[in-house]
C-alpha cells in the first residue's frame, strides 16, 4: 500500500558498458500483484541491460522486488507494462530453448533421486528425447564442475546444505544455459560455506563464460563477484543506481583488501542504508 502511494522519482539509469552486447534487455518494466483484491505495484519502470557474459548482482532491501525482477527476467512473471527480451526473444521462449538456468534459495532436490539423477532431472524434463546416458554424462560433468565428484550416488538427505545447493547449481548448468539466474542461492548457508560457494561460483563463471544474474543480500559477495551491481530501492521498487565494480580480475581472497573493493563496498553500503531509510 505504502509503495503505491509514494510517487516514484525519475529512475536514474546508468547504461551498461557499450563494449559488450546486451543479452538481457528490460525496458520500463512494471509489475502489479493483486493481493486480497488490491492491486499493488511491486516494480515500477525498471530499465535494465545485462551484457552477455557479465556477472551482475541485484541488491536491495528485503521485500523490494528483487525476486520479482528475477522472475520477470526468467519469464515466470509477465510484466504488466514494458518489455523484456533475452537473446532477442521473450524470456519464457528463451527458457524453453534452455537459454535460462534457474537456482533458488532452497535447493529443492527430489528426495527420491540421488545427486546425479537430480542434476540430470531438469535436462531430461526439458528434452524428452535426450538419451539417458547423455543426460547423465552431462550431469556428471556439471557435478564435477561444482566440486561434487564423489557425491553422485548420495541421496539429498545425506548431503549438507552447501552440497545440496551445489547439486541445484549443477542441475541448472546441465541445461547448458547461456544465462544463469540465481535468487539468493547461498542465503540459507553459514558464512564460511557461503564464501566457499561464492568462490565456486566465480570459478564456474570464469570457466564457462555464462551470463550470471545474482540476487544477494551480501555486499561482499556482490562486490567480489560482479561486474555491475544494480541497487534497488522501494517505493515502488526500481533500480536506484547501477554501480560498476572495477576490482581487478581474476578475483579471489586477496581482492578483499584492494582499495577498489573497499571503495565499492562503502558506496554500496551507503546506497543500501539510504534505500532502507526511505523504506522505513
Amino acid at each position: 500500500m505504502m509503495l503505491a502511494e509514494t510517487a516514484a522519482p525519475a529512475p536514474s539509469v546508468v547504461s551498461a558498458p557499450d563494449t559488450a552486447e546486451a543479452q538481457i534487455i528490460g525496458r520500463h518494466i512494471a509489475v502489479d500483484f493483486t493481493h486480497a483484491g488490491r492491486r499493488q505495484r511491486v516494480l515500477q519502470s525498471v530499465n535494465i541491460s545485462i551484457p552477455r557474459g557479465s556477472f551482475v548482482s541485484l541488491i536491495g532491501p528485503s521485500g523490494c522486488g528483487k525476486s520479482t525482477l528475477l522472475k520477470v527476467l526468467a519469464g515466470l512473471v509477465p510484466p504488466s507494462e514494458g518489455s523484456i527480451t533475452v537473446d532477442g526473444i521473450a524470456p519464457e521462449e528463451a527458457a524453453k530453448k534452455r537459454v535460462i538456468g534457474l537456482v533458488f534459495q532452497e535447493a529443492t532436490l527430489l528426495p527420491w533421486k540421488n545427486a546425479l539423477e537430480n542434476a540430470a532431472f531438469l535436462l531430461m524434463t526439458a528434452d524428452e528425447s535426450i538419451a539417458k546416458s547423455e543426460a547423465f554424462g552431462r550431469a556428471e560433468a556439471m557435478l564435477k564442475l561444482v566440486g561434487l565428484r564423489d557425491a553422485e550416488n548420495k541421496m539429498p538427505s545425506q548431503l549438507s546444505g552447501g552440497m545440496r545447493q551445489r547439486v541445484a547449481i549443477a542441475r541448472a548448468l546441465a541445461l547448458d544455459p547461456q544465462v544463469l539466474l540465481m535468487d539468493e542461492p547461498f542465503g540459507a548457508l553459514d558464512a564460511i560455506t557461503r564464501e566457499e560457494m561464492s568462490e565456486c561460483l566465480l570459478d564456474i563463471w570464469e570457466r564457462t563464460g555464462k551470463t550470471i544474474v545474482l540476487v544477494t543480500h551480501s555486499i561482499d559477495e556482490a562486490v567480489l563477484l560482479s561486474d555491475e551491481v544494480h541497487v534497488m530501492g522501494t517505493g515502488p521498487a526500481r533500480i536506484i543506481e547501477t554501480l560498476p565494480i572495477t576490482v581487478a580480475r581474476p578475483r579471489g581472497e586477496e581482492s578483499y583488501s584492494e582499495p577498489a573493493f573497499k571503495a565499492a563496498e562503502k558506496r554500496l553500503r551507503g546506497l543500501l542504508i539510504e534505500s532502507h531509510r526511505r523504506t522505513s
Partner: protein, 274 residues
C-alpha cells in the same frame, strides 16, 4: 548418535535406518504382567464370567471356538481388505481430481469436508436397508469412513511441492500433467502412506460397525451374537482376533511404505537423531 550429527558429512556415517517398529520385548513383558494381574483380580474377587472373564477363560474360549472364529475372521478380513483398497482408490482419485482441476476442486473440497462431518456410523442402517446383508453395504460404509484421511493426506502431499520447484519445471516447458506425474505424485507418497495407515484402522472399524448393523457372518456378528448369549469370553476372543487382524493389516501397510517410499523423511536418520 551425536557424533554422527556433528561430523555430518563424514564418509563412515552409518546408513542404517533406525527401525520405527516398536520394541517388542518390554511391551510384551508389560502385557504379561497386566494379564496376570487381571487373572488374579478376577479370581480374587470372584467376578462372574459373563461380566469380566479371566484371561484364561478367554483363552479357553478362543481354543474352543477357533474354527468358528477363523471363518468369521476370514469374512471380516475380506471386507476390510476390499474396503480398504476401494477407500484408497477413491481417496487418491478424489485428491488427484481436486489438485489437477483447481476450479472444480475448489467447489468439491468444501462439500467433502461437509460430508466428513456427517456421523457416518449412523449411515450403516441405511446402507443395510439399501443393499441387504451382504458385503456391499459394509464396503460402502468402509469407503465412506476411510477415504477421507487418504484424500486429505494425499492432497497435502500433492501440494507440498515447493513453488520454486514448480517454477523450475514450468520454465523448462513442463505442463501441469507432467509436473503432476513426475513431481507432485512422488512427493505425495510419504503423505499418502500416513493417510493409508489411518484408513486401514478406519476400515476395520467400518467393517465391524457394518456387521453390527446387520450381518450373518463376520467377527462383528460373532460379538453381537455372543453378547446376546452372555458368552462374554467369546466376545473377548472375537475382540482379540479383531485387534490382531487390525495390527497385522497396519503392519502390512507400514511394510509397503518402507518398501515403496524408502526416502520418506521419517526414515531420515539425521532428522530422527535429535
Amino acid at each position: 548418535m551425536t557424533e554422527v550429527v556433528q561430523s555430518g558429512m563424514s564418509q563412515d556415517r552409518s546408513d542404517t535406518v533406525r527401525r520405527p517398529l516398536p520394541d517388542f520385548v518390554p511391551a510384551a513383558g508389560l502385557m504379561i504382567v497386566a494379564l496376570l494381574l487381571w487373572e488374579l483380580g478376577v479370581r480374587l474377587f470372584n467376578v462372574p464370567e459373563f461380566v469380566v472373564p479371566a484371561p484364561s477363560a478367554v483363552f479357553r474360549s478362543l481354543i474352543e471356538s477357533r474354527y468358528h472364529l477363523m471363518v468369521a475372521a476370514k469374512v471380516t478380513a475380506i471386507e476390510v481388505l476390499v474396503g480398504f483398497i476401494l477407500s484408497a482408490v477413491v481417496g487418491i482419485a478424489v485428491a488427484l481430481v481436486i489438485a489437477r482441476f483447481e476450479r472444480f476442486g475448489r467447489a468439491l473440497y468444501p462439500l467433502i469436508v461437509l460430508f466428513q462431518n456427517v456421523p457416518k456410523v449412523a449411515l450403516a442402517p441405511i446402507f443395510i436397508l439399501w443393499f441387504g446383508y451382504d458385503m456391499a453395504p459394509k464396503l460402502l460404509l468402509i469407503v465412506v469412513i476411510a477415504f477421507f484421511p487418504v484424500t486429505i493426506d494425499m492432497l497435502a502431499g500433492l501440494q507440498s511441492v515447493e513453488p520454486s520447484f514448480v517454477s523450475l519445471m514450468k520454465s523448462v516447458g513442463a505442463n501441469k500433467n507432467k509436473i503432476m506425474l513426475r513431481v507432485r505424485i512422488p512427493h505425495a507418497l510419504p503423505h499418502l502412506f500416513a493417510g493409508l495407515k489411518v484408513a486401514i484402522t478406519f476400515s476395520v472399524i467400518g467393517a465391524i460397525v457394518g456387521e453390527f448393523a446387520g450381518a450373518n457372518a463376520g467377527l462383528g456378528y460373532v460379538i453381537q451374537f455372543a453378547s446376546t448369549q452372555l458368552d462374554t469370553p467369546l466376545v473377548f476372543s472375537a475382540l482379540l482376533v479383531i485387534s490382531v487382524l487390525g495390527l497385522a493389516f497396519y503392519y502390512v501397510v507400514e511394510l509397503a511404505e518402507r518398501f515403496l517410499v524408502p526416502w520418506s523423511p521419517k526414515y531420515d536418520t539425521r532428522q530422527r537423531s535429535h
